[in-house]
C-alpha cells in the first residue's frame, strides 16, 4: 500500500515537473544541437583578489539571478576572493555588482536578470552566501578548498539544486530550498573538517540523496519527512530510528561517538524522497 502511494507520488511528481518543464525549458535550456561555434552570448568576467580588499576575512555573497544557472566551485587559489563569469544573451542587461566592506569583511551584492554564471571562490576566506535563482538551477561543488559557515541555495519558483560534497569539505550549514523541482545531494566525502548540517526543502517535487557518508570519524544522521507522497530508503547498514510512510530517521552506527557529525533534514511537500538509492534503479 505504501509502495503504491510512493509510486503514485513519483508519477504525479513527474507530471508536475514536466508541466513546469514544458513552460520553462525554452528559457533555460540551450539548443539541443549546435552548428559550429556558439557566438550568441556575451561573456563578462568580474574578479576580486586579496589586494583589492586588504584585511577582509569574511565574505558574504548575496546573489540573485532571475532566470539562469549558477555553478559554484572552490579552488586552491589563496589570493582569490571571487571570480564571476557571466554568460548572457547580447540583449541581456549587465549584472549589477557592488562590493561593500565592513570591519574585517566584505559584502558582495549581485543582481542579474538572466544568464549562466560560474562562481569560483578561493580557499583563504570564510564564506557565507545567499544564492537565489528565480527560475533555473544551482550546481555547487564543495571540495576540500571550501571554507563555509552557511550557504543558502534556493530556486524561488522552479528549478533544481545539485550539491556535490567532496572529502575534506568545510561547512557549518547548507540550506537548500526549491519551490517546484528537485534537489540532488551527492555526498562523496568520508570525512569533513567540522560537524555540519544540511537542510533541504522542496514544496513540490523530490529530493535525492545518492549515498550517506560513512567514515571512521564521521557519523551521519538523516531525517526525512514527506507531507503528501513518500520516503523511499535503502537502509543498508544504518540504524533505523523511525520509519513510517511519510517519515524516516536513520543514523550511522558510529553517530553518537563520532567526533565529526553530519545532520541532514529533508522535507518534501508533495512528492518523494529517495535516500541512499540511485533514481534509475530505485
Amino acid at each position: 500500500m505504501k509502495g503504491n502511494t510512493i509510486t503514485g507520488g513519483i508519477i504525479i511528481t513527474i507530471l508536475l515537473t514536466s508541466i513546469i518543464f514544458t513552460f520553462t525549458s525554452s528559457i533555460f535550456l540551450e539548443s539541443p544541437i549546435k552548428f559550429g561555434e556558439d557566438v550568441s552570448g556575451v561573456i563578462r568576467t568580474y574578479t576580486l583578489v586579496s589586494e583589492d580588499v586588504p584585511g577582509a576575512k569574511h565574505i558574504n555573497l548575496n546573489f540573485t539571478v532571475k532566470a539562469g544557472r549558477i555553478y559554484i566551485n572552490f579552488t586552491d587559489d589563496s589570493n582569490l576572493i571571487y571570480k564571476f563569469v557571466f554568460k548572457q544573451d547580447k540583449e541581456a542587461k549587465r549584472p549589477n555588482i557592488e562590493n561593500i566592506t565592513f570591519n574585517n569583511g566584505l559584502l558582495v551584492n549581485v543582481m542579474a536578470e538572466s544568464g549562466d554564471i560560474k562562481i569560483t571562490l578561493g580557499n583563504n576566506y570564510i564564506y557565507n552566501g545567499t544564492l537565489r535563482v528565480g527560475l533555473g538551477g544551482i550546481t555547487a561543488r564543495f571540495s576540500n578548498y571550501s571554507n563555509i559557515e552557511f550557504f543558502d541555495l534556493s530556486a524561488i519558483y522552479a528549478g533544481g539544486v545539485l550539491v556535490d560534497i567532496e572529502d575534506g569539505a568545510s561547512f557549518d550549514n547548507f540550506n537548500l530550498r526549491v519551490n517546484s523541482g528537485g534537489i540532488t545531494i551527492q555526498i562523496k566525502a568520508n570525512s569533513l573538517k567540522k560537524s555540519s548540517n544540511i537542510s533541504a526543502r522542496v514544496e513540490l517535487g523530490g529530493v535525492i540523496i545518492n549515498s550517506i557518508p560513512v567514515g571512521m570519524n564521521l557519523g551521519s544522521r538523516l531525517r526525512a519527512i514527506a507531507d503528501i507522497g513518500g520516503v523511499s530508503i535503502n537502509p543498508g547498514n544504518f540504524s533505523i530510528i523511525k520509519q513510517t510512510a511519510n517519515e524516516v530517521e536513520i543514523m550511522t552506527n558510529n553517530y553518537l561517538m563520532a567526533p565529526t557529525k553530519l545532520d541532514i533534514e529533508i522535507f518534501t511537500g508533495l512528492g518523494g524522497t529517495l535516500i541512499n538509492k540511485n533514481f534509475f534503479l530505485s
Partner: protein, 226 residues
C-alpha cells in the same frame, strides 16, 4: 479541518490507485471494479498524460527548429528569420491537441476491438464501458515516456539511449496492464486476454495501415501516370 482531511484522503487514494495500477494491476482493478468507476478519471488521465507528451514533443521540435534557425541566421541574418519564430508556439499547441485526439481515438478503438474479441470469440462476461474505463488507466506507464522526453530535452546525445529504454519499458508495461484489464473485465484466461488485448488489435491496426498505404500508393502512382 474535516474537509481538509477528506481532500487529503482522496488525494492519497488517487496516488494509491496510480501506483497500484503499475505495481499490482490485478488487485487494483479488482478493487476498482468492486467499488464502481467513473469514466471521468481515465479520460482525465489520458488527456493529461498524452497532452503533456504532445506538449513536450512540441517543445523539443521547436528547440530543434531554433537550432536550425540559429545556424541559418549566420547566412541570412536574424531579421528575416524572426518572422518564423512567432509561429513556433502553434507547433506546440498542434502537437498537444493532436496527441490527445490520437490517444482518445486509439483508446476507444482498442477497447472496442478487445471487447469484440473477448466477448464474441472467447465468450467473456464483461462490458465495453467497463473495459473502456480500465483501458484508460493503461496510460499511466507513459509517465516513463514523459520522463524520457524531458531527459531528451536536457541532452539529446547523452539521454537518447535512456529514452529508448524508458519507451520500451513503458510499452511492455502498458501491454501487461491492458492484458490484466481484459482478463479481469471478461474473466477469461491470460492467454485469451493477451490475444484480445494485443494480438487482435495489432493485426487490425497492421491490416488497416496496409490498406491505407496501398490506397495512397495506388493513388500516388495513378496520379503520377496520369
Amino acid at each position: 479541518m474535516k474537509n481538509e482531511n477528506k481532500s487529503l484522503t482522496s488525494i492519497t487514494r488517487f496516488l494509491e490507485r496510480l501506483g497500484g495500477i503499475l505495481l499490482e494491476p490485478r488487485k487494483t482493478f479488482y478493487d476498482m471494479m468492486q467499488k464502481g468507476m467513473s469514466v471521468i478519471e481515465p479520460l482525465f488521465l489520458i488527456i493529461v498524460f498524452f497532452g503533456i507528451q504532445g506538449a513536450l514533443f512540441g517543445v523539443f521540435t521547436v528547440r530543434l527548429l531554433y537550432s536550425f534557425l540559429d545556424f541559418l541566421s549566420q547566412f541570412a541574418g536574424t531579421e528575416p528569420l524572426r518572422i518564423f519564430q512567432g509561429s513556433f508556439i502553434i507547433i506546440t499547441i498542434t502537437t498537444t491537441i493532436s496527441w490527445i485526439i490520437a490517444a482518445l481515438l486509439i483508446w476507444i478503438i482498442s477497447a472496442g476491438i478487445a471487447h469484440l474479441s473477448a466477448k464474441y470469440i472467447f465468450k467473456g462476461l464483461g462490458s465495453y464501458s467497463q473495459l473502456l474505463k480500465l483501458y484508460g488507466y493503461a496510460s499511466i506507464p507513459s509517465s516513463l515516456v514523459i520522463l524520457g522526453i524531458m531527459l531528451l530535452n536536457l541532452n539529446l546525445f547523452i539521454f537518447f539511449g535512456i529514452f529508448l529504454i524508458l519507451c520500451l519499458i513503458a510499452f511492455f508495461w502498458i501491454v501487461v496492464i491492458l492484458l490484466v484489464a481484459v482478463e479481469r473485465c471478461y474473466l477469461i484466461d491470460p492467454g485469451q486476454a493477451f490475444i484480445s488485448s494485443f494480438i487482435v488489435p495489432l493485426v487490425v491496426y497492421l491490416t488497416l495501415s496496409a490498406i491505407i498505404w496501398s490506397i495512397f500508393s495506388s493513388l500516388l502512382s495513378g496520379g503520377l501516370f496520369l
